[in-house]
Amino acid sequence: MPAPAEKPSLPDGLVAVVKRDCPTCALIEPVLRQLKSAGRRLTVYTQDDPTFPSGLDVVDDRELEVSWHHAVETVPTLMRVESGAEVERTVGWNRKDWEALTGVGNLGTTLPAHRPGCGSLSVHPDNADALGVRFSGSKLKSRRIELASLEDEVESLFERGWTDGLPGVPPTEGRVLRMLEGTARSPDEVVAVAPPDLIAVTVEKVAINAVMAGCKPEYLPVVLAAVEAACTDEFNMHGVLATTMPVGPIVVVNGPIRRAIGMNTGVNVLGQGNRAGLTIGRALQLVIRNVGGGRPGEVDRATHGSPGKLSFCFAEDEEGSPWEPLSAQRGFTSGVSTVTLFAGEGTRCVIDQHSRKPESLASSFAVSLRAVHHPKLALGFDAILVVGPEHARVFREAGWTKARVLEEIDARLQLPGGDLVRGANGIEEGMPEHFLSDTLPKFRPGGLLLIHAGGSAGLFSEIIGGWVSGAGGSQPTTKEVRP
């Protein structure tokens, strides 16, 4: 564990940070001497050569501690410090700015009026990670695990039981610190209480698992929101994990964040190839596995599971949709980025290449949706219908709203009890006998979610069956993605 690194204070007066390797710093060497002769209290930190600038008392910052802590990105940087606090800063060489900041006129009159500076060594890509670990690593509270010299980094994750069966990115301090730059939230902030072990999961632990999953830092806010949503009582991640059914947490992303982080909403939207979607879904499952302690064969008792339990995260094609997005259906205004968690199984294709009338297509959807989990079971399970763009076009051209489509499907899924009860049609599975003379809807009100996504060619849509619906099972759960 690195020693806690205190931010070094700056002396009052003028403070300059320079390096010899920077031509602009060399250019303004006489200006620094001019400031000193004008009687200004000047402290110069040098990043690469303590003999530079000549003729001045120089503070050696080859360790880059001052530069790093005071977020120096460019050299030269000139600051004015009063009572230990920086009150003004300018970077590079600009005569007017330097004169204004120092209160000294006629600075460097033989020099060009303006020259941009160079990159500070403290932000050089070769140094940045190591400096981050050295000066801010102590803010990370997780246990450090030192690998033996012969241990392979990637193999070590398998050996410790930390992965889902695929290789992971080793969560080094440098990578985790970089991941944490993706959020404004503090590493020690508790995001949620993760099942099954009911562990308070911090932003830091989510970041570690996001590194392992292969996320980029800008995905982290989506992962955090997904963890928050999964660990609510309404979503019931514990039950989703423990069930023998083949369901896992499916993450649907809405709002501007989809495009900002490069999520796929088109061709092969539910398939392979998009880093953001795959790694966000995977990170959530790694948090449940590693922090929550939910592992297959232990609390996870799925009979078959599904490939989606590795990762199942996708974004809605809002721009091409005839309807309001899922987030609006879930009560959020447009412009707000959200994740919606749905406990679901794999996907099943609905082919209808002939319907051009919305009534016909709604009927196709209805007969296909009836089969979710079993054609004789009603009201027990929610479902997502991912409507492909070519199917959506039929409804767009007919002017059917999303509410209208849902109503029409629902009207076609009013099932006579006589067809559903146990023993009907020679099938012992079914609804209890007392429903014999009732009519039951396949889905509870609000139990069917429509999402628009997919490639522009193909008269197909996809059904994703849910798990036990409602308060006794899992309910779709939406959370805002916050920075």
């Binding site: 997780s142 010299s149 080094t172 072990d197 570690i208 790694l286």
Partner: protein
């Protein structure tokens, strides 16, 4: 040297725990692993005699070379066949 951050709840120990020490070797299968350094066999021959006196069965194994970790097949064979393992680091 690589340092990783623990992704877990940290309720489990980071190091693997040793198997409980048996109270007696009588009737146990004891693997004798020669790492293939010179004269390791001399040491293990004597240990095998002592084990026989204690009523244990000794099985002999050898690593192909002392310079590398034991191959996976050998480790699995040791785990499958032996109750206890003695490794000879002779030279």
């Amino acid at each position: 040297m690589t340092i990783l951050l623990d992704p877990t709840s940290e309720r489990a120990v980071a190091k693997r725990t040793l198997v409980a020490r048996p109270s007696s070797l009588k009737g146990k299968v004891v693997g004798l692993l020669d790492i293939s350094k010179p004269r390791g066999d001399v040491f293990l021959d004597r240990i095998a005699e002592r084990l026989a006196d204690d009523g244990a069965t000794a099985l002999r194994f050898a690593k192909p070379t002392y310079t590398k970790p034991a191959p996976v097949d050998l480790r699995q064979e040791l785990a499958a066949k032996c109750d206890v393992l003695i490794e000879a680091l002779a030279d």
